[in-house]
Every structure is written in structure tokens, then in C-alpha cells.
Symmetry: C2
Subunit: 466 residues, 2 copies
């Protein structure tokens, strides 16, 4: 430790050396200064506090004589062990983090992803290269929207693989979807009413609610968000996941997309937020372009992330703003600093530009498809007990009960066999108008190994008496 | 390019090969696919679109025959140069960023910092080490508040150097102050009234306003925010910069601090946001602990950043929440993902823990003090024309006119000598009740070299006829 900022009073009531002595003594007693810790040198502390060196010498002498600190030749002053003293609420000790839920041996979480295939060594090499090659300006603050060349690369990727129509200037790069949704709320204005799918991606609903938005749950049918209920909701904004509804897995067909686009076009103030969170992973049928691709009138805000497609530690997401909202951003929010460091942007840029991202995605598609196909194969014998839904895309499927078991019963039976599956109820913002329907659980597989999928489904079979 | 997502319709109206052909042709005509770009192989595109290979072969054949693409043996298909076609609004070409203001040769900006002394090689080495040593979990999503050990290190640093009293659990790490203020607005609730210093750090005022807060400017006197006006403002929150008011440089004395703390204690819902943005740099007198250190009742939200003390690219700031607000965070906002990657947190942690940060700060203090002293020395002869203010801390000083020049006249005269100084008017949220006072400009020096300070002040002398 080189510094101690001690609040000194020069009102003459207490000598300065005594104030220094009292302060350090109390810090040691409270445990804020801990045994073995080095104190600043007297010269240094005197300079820092702007007092004479002899004042600090006096204070240290007193502490030495009372055994709070010890002097080691040529090394300085150190705090002594004083275990027998009372330590009220240590100031900077270890503390318990919120205890995590006990983990299940076979956790079919829909939020897991597999990062074992992540090209760590490539990422490391690029990081090293970026720090070696880049100019020092990579240590300076970048453009609020994100670095131009990264936005160009994202623009090219989105156009090629998702049909997104935009210019790099419409793209805003930010540290994760949660942050971008917070920024978007500033663009759309406070106190709006937003329609959210029911069941839903709860995180987005929570972000909206925490920003003072009124969240209106809109039930789904087999094609996604119900248009009749959306119209009735009087919402200004619709938040949807058309390429793979979370958590039901519904892929919204073109007809429903057009209906929702028409709804948006009916009101100047209406917008659609298209969260394309895991569109990279699709196993059957033709790839469906994003909804943004069908939007000719600037009604769709497109949201995507590299946290899911690369690794969660990569806190880089992006949104594509339609022109009217871009204007609001440019006019009112241009000053908000970028939340992503330029170094990280430079690394990601090279990862995209040198083709690593594309190769990695191809690899992950194969890997996830392998797990997906294995899971479906293993679930074949489950078909009398469950209807399988949402199996064409994404990283999880649904099992819908056929035998009258409740969601709770299904989950608890699995839990006894050390398997964790997730109830649809946890994603419900409200009970659907048509009632809850049969017990349904979500079964994710991305983070499990093939062996775990085999053993896990064996256990589920036993648990559910199939 | 390995992928093209083409929206295909299977309604029988147009053959699939024709749809593929039309799509690619239009992309080339619009410039979205540009000359020399490689198309996906027919095998690959067929697989991607889930159509037969011969369908793609047909489409490519048509494009070849019409001269839109060419085939290079063993290499594949490439887009041809078609310069004579009309290109409406290219989709992903370069675009102009907002043009920057022409730069002055001697820019006395108060926002500049000097990163020439930044230990680039140390930072690079630590980055490399982190990627080599850390477990793969550094690629996973970290705790929402930030990694525990980093928060412990920040806690220790804040306690030692700023007297801040907190536990690591009260600290939230985030990607920059702008982000943390956005998060804080969620904690404090929407539609609040916030008192902001006048003149002010405009960025904070803008963030508050953009989140729907009512920003009430409160004039300063020689001790900082006026307590009588704060009381009259009916604000619930006061945003202040007590260790070095931005931009006036006033260091708030203990008396005023206590008055503002008392104001906060008078209402359960009242809070103080203490932005300690450049408290690391102080040149005269004893270091004054943070206001948070004097707060025993959980009224102060403490805000600090590494963007100013390390480098702007380090998008890591932190805030210390008092217990009542921490409870709101834990209850309602616990789910918001961290905006800082674990890799960056691990690098910063080592930079702090291995003593580099402290050494770097000491170096920077000396460096800035050298520039500060040089500037004041050079301004000695200016004293008949200007009163010098705010010279005890931070990275800029103020010059207050004594000869009846307006702010505008001072700035324009400087501009003619290629010097840029900044008018106080740009930081005024409203005209102060007592009137604007004499013309005052802000003179920053952090980003200038000693030579630039010498030459710059010579030019100012000439410009201002001193």
C-alpha cells in the first residue's frame, strides 16, 4: 500500500500525529488494514497528507510501541497480527455471493451454449496481434456507435446471411442486448406500452418493465404472436422473436410476419423489435431471411448478438435502427459513449474479416445439429407420452404432455433422477386466455455432451415411466 | 462470401432458379454484391437454401451468360465489373461519418488526457498472460455486478485512497459512466427531479434528461452548489462533483459537504450522486476524502472511472451503492448482464493487484503536475488581464476576464492564433441568477506537450494583447 487518505482536522483540538495514529489504529482494529499489509513509508505518507515527516514518525512510533505495527529493517512498516481484537464488519473482506442453485447432473437448460469448440488459440493470437499491430489510438475512446470498419463487417454479414437491408450508419454496437434495449428505450421514449410474446424471453420483458414501460403480454398461436390480440393491446411497440420464438420454438411464417408489419405501418409511432437471438442455428428447411428484410418502410428494429454465436464473454451486440429512429438517436443521444472497448472491437473485427467467424459458425451448426439429431433420436420412444415441438431451429425443444401430467409433476420426477428440465410456466407473463394447455417442459441440449444426452434421456425415460 | 440468404417462394409462380437468378442480379445492380466478390459455390448455396444443386447451376448459368458473373477455373464464380449500371444507395459501402470539427494546432481541451505514458507493453503482457493462464470460464458470462475479485480490488483501492466505506457487494462495475448513470436511473426510478450544478458536466445532465428526468440547474458560489437553491429546487437527487467541480474547479469544503449531506438526510428518498471523476489528480493541500467517506447514513452514490485514470479505451467504471439502493438493485435489476467482458475484468484486476495502477497514477500525477506548474508559470504575466481559478486540482484551469472582454471575444482572438480555448457558456444549463459574470474560458493542458504549452501560451499572449 502506498497511500492512506486520512481526513485531518486542523482545528487544534487534536494533534495531527494523534489523528494519524487513531486513524491507523482503528483501521487495524476494524480489519480494514490486515495483518502483514505494508504501510506507506513515513516520507511518502507525509508527502501525501502534506504534513511534516516527524508528525508521521511520531504516529508510527506510537503504533509500534503499542504493537499494532512492526518495523522490518530495510523493508518498512507492517501491520501485526491482532486476532484477539473484535473486528466489526470488515470493510473489504471476502463476502458471500448469492448462493447458486444446486446444479443437476443433467441440466437441460435452454440458455446453455457449448464453448468447447471455441477457437481459443485463434482468439488469443488475434488479441495479441491487435495489441501489437494497432496504433495507440486503439486505447482512445472510439465512436459512440462503434468502430466504422466493425459496423461495415457486421453490415456485410447481416446482409449476406440474414438479408438485412441497412447501411453501417444504421448499426449501433453495444455491450450486450440488455444495454441496447436500455438505449432503445431512450430512443423510443419513456412510458411506452410494449407488446411481448406470452410465453416470453423474460429478460427483455424485465428490462422494459424496469425502464417504466408497460409490458402487455400477447398470447401465441401456432404461428406466433396473435395479431388480433396485438391489435387489441393498444401497444405501440411489439417485441418478437420471429425466426425462433423463445421459448416455444415457433418459426413465424411469412403470412404472420406480413400481418405484424401491416399493424406497424398503420401507426406512424409503431415499431417492431425483431430479436434474432439464435437465428444462426437452424436445421430444417430453407433459411428464412429476417423480418427486417421484408420491411420497406423503416418499421423494424433488428437486434442481434455475438454473445450467443461466439461466447458469452464477448459482450458485443448490435442493433439496426430504421431511419426515423436513427434520426432521434443522432439528434438526442449521439453523445452517449460506446460501451465496448476499441480493443475488443478490433479483435472481433479481425475475427469476422479473416473468416474465422464463418468457419466457427459452420462448425457450431454441425456440432449442434449432431446433438439435436441425437436428442430427437433418443426421444422417439417418448412420443406416446409427449408431443415434441419447436424442433426445427435453435438450441432447445419442447415436450408437451399427452398423459395428463402437470408441468410440476414432470419437472419433479426428472429432478429425482438428477435431471433438470424447465417448465413453460416460468416463461409465462400471464395465464393465456385459452388456459395453460397441457404440461410442457423445455429441454435444451447445447451445453450437454453427447454422452450426457444419452445418459440424461435414459434417466428421463425412467423418471417419466416411459 | 459463403452464404446468400435468398427469400424463396414455393407458390409455383416463379421457378426457384429464376428467383435465385433475379435476387443475385438485383444485388449486383444495386451494388450490394460488388465487383470481384466471390459467390458461394453452387454446392454450398444449394445446401444453404435447401434446393437441388441443378437449380443453382441453372441460375448461375443464366448470370454467366448475361455477364453479371464470371467463372474462374478451380476458383469459383465472381461478380463482374458493371460500372455503367445505376447503383441506387449502395447497401454496405463506405459512408461518411459525421465530419469532425477542424482541429486547432493548440487545443486546450479540458477533456483531453495524456496516454503517451501509458504502459502499453505491460498492458499487452498482462492481456497475453490472462488469455494464457485463465481458465476457459473467462469466456463465460460473469456476475452481473462484475467479478468478485475485481470488486474486492476496487474496494481496497477506494478505501485506501478515497476513504470510501463499502463492501465489494456494494460495487457495480459497468462499461463507462454513461451506462452506470442509465442503470442508476432504473434504480432510482423514472421521472425524478435531479439537481445538477450550473455550470455542469453536460454529459451527465444529458443522460438524465434523455431518461425522462427533470434536470434542475442549481447555481454555484465559491464553495460549490448553493444549498439555498438546492433546497428550493424540490429535487430528490443532487448530482455533484465535490472533489473538483466540473468545470469551475471548485473543491467543495467540508462545511458545504455537510450541508448537502444534511439536505439528503432530511428526506428518505433523497440521494447524492458524487462523481469523483478526476480525484486522482490533485496538486496542493491535503487530499480530501470522498464525500461518501463522511456519509454514515447511506445517502451517497459514489461514481468513479478507469477511463480517465488509465485510458479511455478501458470502458470500466464503477459505482458504490448505499444499502437502500443496493436492495432495490438486488430485488429488481439483478438480472441485467454485466456490460464488461470477463477478459477485460481479469486484465484490469491484475493491473490493479500487481501494483501497476498505483505506479502509473504516481507517474501521471508527476507528469500532469509538471504540465500544470508550467502552465501556471507561463500564465503569470496574464494576471493583469485574467484572474486564474480552479488551479488546485484536475486537468484544467479557468481564466476569468478582468478587462471587459466577452467570452466570445476571448475565444475568437485565440482561434486566430490557432489556439482553442473553451467558453464557460458551453457548460451553462441556464443563465445564473446573478448574471453570467465576466467572460471566462476553460484551459485544459493534459493532452498538450510541454512544448505545445510554451508555444500555445505565447500565442495566447499575442492573441489577447498581453
Amino acid at each position: 500500500m502506498n497511500e492512506l487518505t486520512i481526513p485531518l482536522k486542523e482545528d487544534g483540538k487534536e494533534h495531527l500525529y494523534q489523528q494519524i495514529y487513531n486513524y491507523i489504529k482503528n483501521e487495524i482494529r476494524r480489519g480494514s488494514l490486515s495483518a502483514g499489509q505494508k504501510l506507506p513509508s513515513t516520507r511518502r505518507l507525509a508527502e501525501h497528507l502534506q504534513v511534516s515527516r516527524s508528525t508521521v514518525d511520531f504516529a508510527y512510533g506510537q503504533l509500534l510501541s503499542e504493537g499494532y505495527i512492526e518495523s522490518r529493517p530495510y523493508k518498512g512498516h507492517f501491520v501485526c497480527e491482532i486476532t484477539k481484537l473484535y473486528h466489526p464488519a470488515p470493510v473489504s473482506g471476502k463476502e458471500e455471493e448469492t448462493p447458486k442453485e444446486a446444479s443437476a447432473a443433467y441440466d437441460f437448460s435452454p440458455n446453455g451454449i457449448d464453448i468447447t469448440a471455441f477457437p481459443f488459440s485463434t482468439w488469443k493470437r488475434i488479441s495479441k496481434d491487435v495489441l501489437m499491430d494497432e496504433e495507440r489510438n486503439v486505447f482512445e475512446l472510439g465512436a459512440p456507435k462503434g468502430d466504422q470498419r466493425l459496423r461495415e463487417a457486421i453490415c456485410g454479414y447481416l446482409h449476406g446471411s440474414r438479408g438485412v437491408e441497412c447501411t453501417p450508419g444504421q448499426i449501433i454496437v453495444g455491450a450486450g442486448n440488455d444495454y441496447l434495449l436500455m438505449l432503445l428505450q431512450k430512443i423510443l421514449g419513456t412510458a411506452q406500452r410494449v407488446a411481448v410474446e406470452n410465453p416470453a424471453y423474460m429478460r427483455a420483458a424485465r428490462i422494459f418493465a424496469s425502464g417504466g414501460y408497460e409490458v402487455t403480454p400477447v398470447d401465441l398461436d401456432e404461428n406466433g404472436m396473435r395479431i388480433d390480440l396485438l391489435k387489441k393491446s393498444r401497444a405501440r411497440i411489439a417485441y418478437i422473436t420471429p425466426s425462433h420464438q423463445f421459448p416455444t420454438g415457433v418459426v413465424m411464417p411469412i403470412g404472420r410476419r406480413m400481418e405484424i408489419l401491416s399493424w406497424a405501418k398503420e401507426g406512424e409511432e409503431r415499431y417492431i423489435i425483431e430479436d434474432d437471438y439464435d437465428s444462426e442455428f437452424r436445421y430444417k428447411g430453407m433459411p428464412i431471411p429476417s423480418m427486417q428484410a421484408s420491411d420497406g418502410e423503416g418499421k423494424v428494429i433488428y437486434l442481434g448478438t455475438f454473445s450467443k454465436s461466439i461466447a458469452p464473454a464477448i459482450r458485443i451486440s448490435y442493433m439496426v435502427l430504421p431511419k426515423p429512429l436513427l434520426n432521434i438517436y443522432e439528434e438526442k443521444l449521439w453523445f452517449i459513449s460506446s460501451t465496448v472497448s476499441r480493443i475488443d472491437q478490433a479483435i472481433l473485427y479481425r475475427f469476422l474479416e479473416d473468416g474465422y467467424f464463418e468457419r466457427y459458425l459452420n462448425k457450431m451448426r454441425k456440432l449442434y445439429k449432431g446433438k439435436h439429431d441425437l436428442l430427437l433420436e433418443r426421444l422417439k420412444s417418448f412420443k406416446k407420452a409427449f408431443r415434441i415441438r419447436g424442433e426445427y431451429a435453435g438450441l432447445h425443444i419442447l415436450l408437451e404432455d399427452r398423459r395428463g401430467w402437470s408441468e410440476k409433476e414432470i419437472i419433479e420426477a426428472a429432478e429425482k433422477e438428477e435431471c433438470r428440465v424447465y417448465g413453460m410456466g416460468g416463461y409465462m407473463l400471464k395465464e393465456p386466455e385459452q388456459g395453460g394447455g397441457p404440461g410442457t417442459v423445455i429441454v435444451g441440449y447445447a451445453a450437454l455432451t453427447e454422452e450426457q444426452i444419452i445418459e440424461g434421456t435414459d434417466r428421463l425415460k425412467k423418471a417419466w415411466r416411459i
